[in-house]
Amino acid sequence: MSILGLPLGLTPDQFLFILRGAGWTLVLSLFGFVGGTSLGLPLALARAARKGGLGSWLLRQGAGAYVALVQGIPLPVIMFVVYFGVSIGGFEVPALVAAGIAMTLWSAAYLGEIWRGCIQAVPRTQWEAAECLALTPAQRFVHVILPQAMRVAVPPTVGFLVQIVKNTSYSVVIGFFDLTYSAKVINNATYKPFQVFTIAALIYFLICYPMSVASRRFEARMRRA
């Protein structure tokens, strides 16, 4: 596999170095997705909270404020804020954790929005039908609404996974050793930017393109259904 780097003017070691960065990109992406889901799902539920007094109003507004705020801040800046923030807290954390927290905060806002839309896309009639079956609100949600929302959520979520993988590249600003960082290092060493960054781009492409295609297929399948 390291032979592949040679025609492009890279030594096997350099190529492996880049691949290690790619590995960490995948780790950070996973971190971002899992974290984003853990925070994003409650956000979506809060945003989709049904009308019912002050409590749900606060939930909706609070979650809405979080989403609006985070969606207005560039991810590199979030990275910096988390990076400096955790070191103030007295914690000595590796760049992976700081980047992971930043990715979590960032992706939660977008995933929350996507899933809120999916929950609200389930027709009113389903809510009413569930009510008529004498299910409790929680049961209604879990057994009737959620499964349908999840079906609708698959294409945009897979599509957003692509965004997560690409946006891990912003962790280069806090020196996290991901694919972009490793490519930059090799470029500084070899001054062969076209080769180095093309390889890096190809690796990102090989990860992201299949997911993009899958997302489009899911969407087409759903429109046919």
Partner: protein, 227 residues
């Protein structure tokens, strides 16, 4: 955990922050129109052009949309340097942004064109209008109006993406923040402040672009309803 927040740096480095804001806005403004034009041409080329043009467009759009902006910027900037082409960091940043936003705009506009009912295209060609007249006079205005919110979101995202340009030494707000925290050692406060500035800029840009909609779409202006 106690921490003494210290925002005093704002007094001394305020002007630097302002400069960063203007540079960010400038970079954004320089990239929006070219990016939109590029994207629209690609969408039209893909939908109505000859097969070879369609293929090139698809390759361009998929390549850009499945690779990070950072890599594209590095490829362009460091590549140009190695080729001994001397353009400044700011122009390089703008070119990278235009290429990037062009691909996303192409997809958005393509979706817009595809929502125009076939009956209208039929009616227009039955009025003896040429293909070009139908595409630009009938389909394009409606497509833009329909996908306008998606376009606005894309351009706001692009403004946020300018934040990475300091990596190639193009000056903008995040780069300014980096300088300031290097001098003041108040990294947390500095980046909190610019996070807030970005939120305000994003909201402001959105308002301005939505205001342009009222100017550009007379029907919307008079009737207030979406197309």
């Amino acid at each position: 955990m106690s921490y003494d927040f210290d925002f005093a740096f704002l007094n001394e480095y305020g002007p630097d922050l302002w400069r960063g804001v203007w540079l960010t806005l400038g970079m954004t403004a320089a990239s929006i129109l070219p990016g939109f034009v590029l994207g629209t041409l690609c969408a039209v080329g893909r939908l109505y052009g000859p097969r070879w043009l369609s293929r090139i467009t698809v390759i361009y759009v998929e390549a850009i949309r499945n690779t990070p902006l950072v890599i594209q910027v590095f490829w362009l900037f460091f590549g140009l340097a190695v080729l001994q082409v001397r353009i400044g960091a700011f122009p390089a940043a703008v070119i990278a942004l235009v290429i990037n936003v062009g691909a996303y705009t192409a997809e958005i506009m393509r979706a817009g064109f595809e929502t125009i009912p076939k009956g209208q295209v039929e009616a227009a060609s039955c009025l003896a209008l040429t293909r070009t007249q139908v595409i630009w006079g009938i389909q394009f205005p409606q497509a833009v109006e329909r996908v306008y919110p998606a376009l606005v979101s894309q351009f706001v995202l692009m403004m946020l993406a300018t934040s990475i340009m300091s990596q190639i030494s193009a000056e903008e707000l995040t780069g300014a923040a980096y300088q300031i925290q290097a001098f003041t050692f108040r990294g947390f406060e500095v980046y909190l402040v610019i996070a807030g500035i970005y939120v305000v800029m994003a909201a402001g840009l959105r308002l301005v672009l939505l205001g342009c909609a009222t100017l550009a779409f007379p029907r919307r202006r008079r009737l207030g309803t979406p197309l």
